[in-house]
């Protein structure tokens, strides 16, 4: 009798667990989309006045990367922190610039830093999130760095002071990089209410509460600077 009662109890617990799980799975993920309006586009870093140089250095500035922002959930839904396989991303050194200027990745991502210039570069960061120094290496060579902590990493070149970039490391996958017009879309967001933040070149918005409907799309626009 006691064995029968025990099996019945276990069965009921299992059914309840499966049923509750079925409820979650039956909810369809949604998305958050919108636009980040930059009132003032941040200027690219200018080289220091090369007063001690014997001649001018030719360099073309490109501000397109500065138009891009990152939008992310401040607090992620349950299950967002499940471990995933390490992925790779690339931040190139080309024309005395980091390309892309902004990289958004998840923790565990390995970023490769190839040198596509015919001169030396020396990638480094003294950020609390990740301190590293890759030393000097020539064209065609690349060095990897794995980012295991969430946070913002400022990346510089030790030889060319005007070269700088941002790497935003998230512990969840609910973020998106805008296009040059500021448009973004964060997909696969479970239904619920989240605080959403927009970020551009060190400036971030106040957290904005956004409710993602079941299987629907929430719209939210931001203004920065």
């Amino acid at each position: 009798m006691s064995r029968f009662l025990f099996l019945t109890f276990v069965t009921l617990v299992f059914v309840a667990f499966v049923a509750s799980g079925t409820d979650v799975r039956s909810a369809r993920n949604g998305a958050i989309r919108g636009r980040v309006d930059l009132r003032k586009v941040p200027a690219p870093a200018e080289p220091r006045p090369n007063v001690s140089d014997l001649g001018a250095a030719a360099r073309a500035l490109d501000i397109s990367d500065r138009l891009r922002s990152v939008v992310y959930l401040e607090s992620a839904p349950r299950g967002a922190f499940e471990s995933v396989e390490p992925t790779h991303a690339v931040m190139d050194q080309r024309g005395e610039r980091f390309v892309p200027h902004i990289l958004a990745i998840t923790t565990g991502t390995i970023v490769d830093f190839p040198n596509s210039d015919h001169i030396y570069h020396n990638v480094f960061s003294l950020s609390k999130t990740k301190r590293f120094d890759l030393g000097r290496y020539a064209a065609g060579k690349s060095q990897p760095v794995r980012f295991d902590r969430a946070g913002i990493v400022r990346v510089f070149c030790d030889i060319h002071s005007h070269m700088n970039a941002f790497i935003l490391v998230f512990s969840h996958p609910f973020f998106a990089l805008t296009d040059n017009d500021g448009r973004f879309r964060i997909d696969n967001v479970p239904p619920g209410t989240y605080n959403v933040i927009a970020w551009n070149e060190g400036v971030q918005s106040e957290p904005r509460a956004v409710t993602v409907p079941d299987g629907g799309v929430a719209e939210e626009d931001f203004v920065l600077r």
Binding site: P49, G55, R136, F156
Partner: protein, 404 residues
């Protein structure tokens, strides 16, 4: 106020300012105006070091390179793709604000790396003088060739060899009987603390670049206004055959002695004869976490032959240094330099002797970046000299560098 106390106060104030600057977000990059056509950058350096009783690190009679508080502001104004105006003002130890550099840069063809610079222009000769900024120098002191004061002066001349030999190891305050008889500082082989005035042409290709300059002063004595009747001509060729390797050769020649001093010695019309001639070679190689540099400079000065025992041949000096830097971890490096400055012999009443006292300096140090543009350096140097009141000296120093 004692100089040590003043230096300590300056360092404390700078540390306080930099901490506040970090908190308040002072610029870490050049400040740009007018759509990037005007850029302003700055370097602030504060040094605190041992009392240098042997004047090994002095840049003139009053200033030691180990105890220097320096503020540099540099600006570039790009008028159009062909014309730029560049300037740097500098203040040392809160004294006199000076225009260190002030020149116009002309690029006749925007698609060709040929530049003409006119005004108070960067040094053509050698490698170190163009990277004398504190953040570019892994140690605190300067190489001897660029800083150590020999006993020679452009405005004052020794009557004979004995008078020159009496000033051995007295470059920080020498005086002679011809020309300006007031005691004053001598000159280094190449001055890293003043820039010359003139016209400079620079051309560069993928593996080679060359520069020629005509200026008013000389390597040892750069000037704004010429003090004799002929200019100096200097040239440099640098090759960079592979990334990380630079090989440079330099040469310069120009009248060193001022017209007034030359007139006092041998009469009018001879000031072109007393020249400084110099040749230099430099190499830099870097890879991974290390950087190695070496430079050698030979300089010769022609002085008038006057009383006995006569200075019967030009006096010369040869300086060589090797320095290296190795990064131990992000933001932390160690560095060292071995440096020697030797002098040719002349014959005085007591026999042959080098005209100035040879000096050797060994310096080791480390640097730690508190943040990207805030660097703390410490170093220890051992100086030995074959002559003078102080023949050996061990000095320690610390320096903090903030730049934007």
């Amino acid at each position: 106020m004692p100089s040590t106390l003043r230096a300590a106060l300056i360092v404390s104030a700078l540390l306080g300012c930099t901490v506040r600057a970090t908190a308040q977000g002072l610029p870490s990059e050049p400040v740009a105006f007018a759509g990037g056509r005007v850029t302003v950058s700055g370097d602030i350096t504060a040094g605190f070091g041992s009392d240098d009783t042997g004047f090994f690190n002095f840049t003139d009679y009053e200033h030691s390179a180990l105890r220097l508080f320096r503020v540099d502001l540099s600006t570039s104004v790009a008028l159009n793709p062909h014309f730029s105006l560049l300037a740097e003002i500098r203040d040392e130890n809160i004294e006199t604000l000076r225009a260190y550099a002030f020149y116009v840069r002309v690029r006749p063809w925007t698609d060709r790396a040929i530049d003409i610079q006119a005004g108070r222009v960067p040094p053509t000769f050698g490698a170190f003088a163009r990277r004398a900024y504190a953040a570019d120098n892994p140690l605190i002191s300067y190489p001897l060739a660029y800083q150590y004061l020999t006993s020679l002066r452009p405005d004052s001349l020794p009557w004979n060899a004995d008078e020159l030999l009496r000033m051995r190891a007295r470059g920080w305050l020498s005086n002679y009987s011809i020309g300006n008889t007031e005691p004053d500082a001598g000159v280094p082989l190449v001055s890293a603390f003043r820039w010359d005035t003139g016209v400079q042409v620079h051309a560069a290709s993928a593996v080679l670049d060359g520069t020629v300059a005509v200026t008013t002063g000389t390597l040892a004595n750069p000037l704004v206004k010429d003090d004799n009747s002929a200019p100096q001509v200097a040239g440099r060729v640098a090759a960079h055959p592979i990334p990380g390797l630079v090989l440079g050769l330099s040469a310069a020649r120009g009248p060193f002695v001022s017209s007034t001093a030359a007139r006092g010695a041998v009469g009018d019309g001879h000031d072109r004869s007393f020249t400084q001639t110099a040749f230099g070679g430099d190499v830099e190689y870097s890879r991974g976490y290390y950087l190695v540099r070496a430079e050698t400079i030979w300089s010769e000065w022609k002085l008038p032959s006057l009383g006995a025992p006569v200075i019967d041949r030009p006096v010369s000096a040869l300086s060589t240094y090797v320095e290296g830097r190795y990064k131990l971890r992000p933001g932390l490096y160690v560095a060292g330099r071995v440096d020697h400055l030797g002098f040719s012999d002349i014959v005085g009443s007591a026999g042959p002797q080098s005209w100035d006292a040879p000096v050797t300096r060994v310096e080791v140090g480390a640097g730690y970046s508190l943040q990207r543009n805030l660097l703390l350096k410490i170093s220890c140097q051992r100086n030995t000299r074959d002559g003078g009141r102080v023949t050996e000296s061990t000095l320690v120093g610390a320096q903090i560098v903030y730049w934007f």
